[in-house]
């Protein structure tokens, strides 16, 4: 590993100052499950300083505030997996974190790191976008709140500035009539990287008519997004098997309109349609 300066701030303001006034080429370290792997590839690694934020207690924990769930960025995937609040109000997020890496990775890897690393296969992102999550970034020049769906530019690139720290992830609790799901396709069960995934939320009234539908594919689009064209097909309908199949096909069609036809399309086109159908069936 190349040498670097190591800083371990104990407060958020100390960390913000380090990023604003310290070595301009520094990297924030949280769980380290991606950063340390990158650091070892010396060809790809150029940062001169590491700002290890894991000693800042205010960046940990899961809480609620009125109708909102608040997840602090250093919360590990294991903590999300064992959270009663998440189980009750955002079960699809719990399903998603259960598929991340291995127990060892889940014990170290954090929700904030998963978002900020912005890999196309980040498993917390599709569910969080389906939950209408927003995130708060902080720097010495202040705070700003951004919808998570507006945060990503393309894989590994976000709108965050180098001096900004993710300090909060929050989303409204799912309504009582919501059903949600997350399905993921990987090459193996443990330690699988999502080839494709789908997060879905469906709300129905007493008559079984869909009042709200949210579909967010993972690793499918150049950036994460909901697919309103497919969601609209469901709203106002009582879902039949055929309708769910149609919803899947619509997502596939929209995906190709963004990505064009490339070598992987022959595979992804039918597979994303099936994953969407399965995700919607799991919401029935």
């Amino acid at each position: 590993m190349r040498p670097f300066e190591y800083y371990s701030p104990r407060t958020l303001s100390e960390a913000c100052n380090l990023l604003a006034e310290g070595e301009p080429d520094s990297k924030i370290l949280a769980g380290g499950t991606d950063v340390l792997v990158e650091m070892r590839k010396s060809s790809a690694w150029s940062s001169k300083a590491i700002v290890d934020i894991t000693r800042i207690p205010s960046l940990r924990g899961i809480g609620e505030s009125g109708d909102w769930i608040i997840i602090k960025p250093l919360t590990t995937h294991t903590e999300v997996l064992h959270s009663d609040l998440v189980r009750t109000h955002a079960p699809l997020l719990q399903t998603a974190v259960s598929t991340i890496g291995s127990p060892q990775i889940r014990n170290r890897g954090t929700v904030g790191g998963n978002i900020m690393n912005a890999a196309a296969c980040a498993d917390t992102v599709p569910p969080l976008i389906a939950l209408d999550a927003e995130i708060m970034l902080k720097s010495t020049s202040g705070e700003r709140v951004i919808a998570l769906s507006e945060f990503f530019v393309k894989p590994y690139v976000t709108v965050a500035r180098r001096d900004e720290i993710l300090v909060e992830v929050r989303f409204p609790k799912l309504p009582a009539n919501a059903r949600s799901s997350f399905v993921k396709l990987g090459r193996r069960n443990a330690l699988s990287i999502a080839r494709l995934s789908v997060a879905a939320v469906v709300c129905k009234d007493e008559a079984g008519v869909v009042t709200d539908a949210r579909i967010v594919p993972g690793a499918a689009f150049p950036r994460w997004q909901r697919v309103p064209e497919a969601e609209k097909l469901l709203i106002g309908q009582k879902p039949s098997k055929e309708l769910l199949v149609e919803g899947g096909k619509k997502v596939s069609e929209v995906m190709i309109s963004f990505t064009g036809r490339r070598w992987s399309t022959e595979y992804k086109e039918p597979v994303i349609a099936v994953l969407v159908r399965r995700a919607l069936e799991a919401c029935e």
């Binding site: 300066e5 370290l29 499950t33 340390l36 650091m39 290890d52 291995s102 127990p103 060892q104 014990n107």
Partner: protein
């Protein structure tokens, strides 16, 4: 140019004051500085689990932790599993079930299994398989390891 950092940490129940370089991992520290070579260097990317240790009771890949990050933390490695000459019941059970073939994955397997049994003294087979899902074994096909963990004598769990 790079400053070393002084940390205090507990490794296998012994307090250590250590001077570490930031660009070394916990795995480097254990093996190269402290001679605790029971923890194995495998993929160094968090995928094989050979370097698994317990940090504050949780299974962690030591290749993904920077040495200064263990300041104030409690580390348990395979060398700290037995009580002197008395093997840990998990180790006895691995021997009884022929769960060790080449042995390279064994220290990591044992640490993952210990973290499970410390939380859950009578796990199901699925819970055992999940607990060791981050540890690759290329010899056994896993069945003997799963059996060994399932049939480990219950022990009084130490902290």
């Amino acid at each position: 140019m790079m400053k070393s950092i002084v940390i205090t940490t507990t490794i296998n129940k012994r307090k250590h004051e250590l001077e570490v370089h930031p660009n070394t991992t916990l795995l480097d520290l254990l093996r190269d500085e402290l001679g605790l070579t029971g923890t194995k260097r495998g993929c160094e990317a968090g995928e094989c689990g050979a370097c698994t240790i317990l940090m504050n009771g949780q299974a962690v890949n030591s290749c993904l932790v920077l040495a200064p990050q263990i300041d104030g933390q409690e580390i348990l490695t395979i060398e700290g599993l037995a009580d002197g000459d008395k093997l840990h019941p998990l180790q006895e059970s691995f021997l009884d079930h022929d769960a060790v073939h080449c042995g390279f994955c064994t220290p990591g397997m044992l640490m993952s299994a210990k973290s499970l049994l410390d939380r859950n003294a009578s796990p199901t087979e699925l819970e055992v398989r999940t607990a060791i899902s981050g540890n690759l074994c290329r010899c056994t096909g896993y069945q003997q390891i799963v059996d060994a963990v399932l049939e480990t004598e219950p022990v009084k769990r130490e902290t």
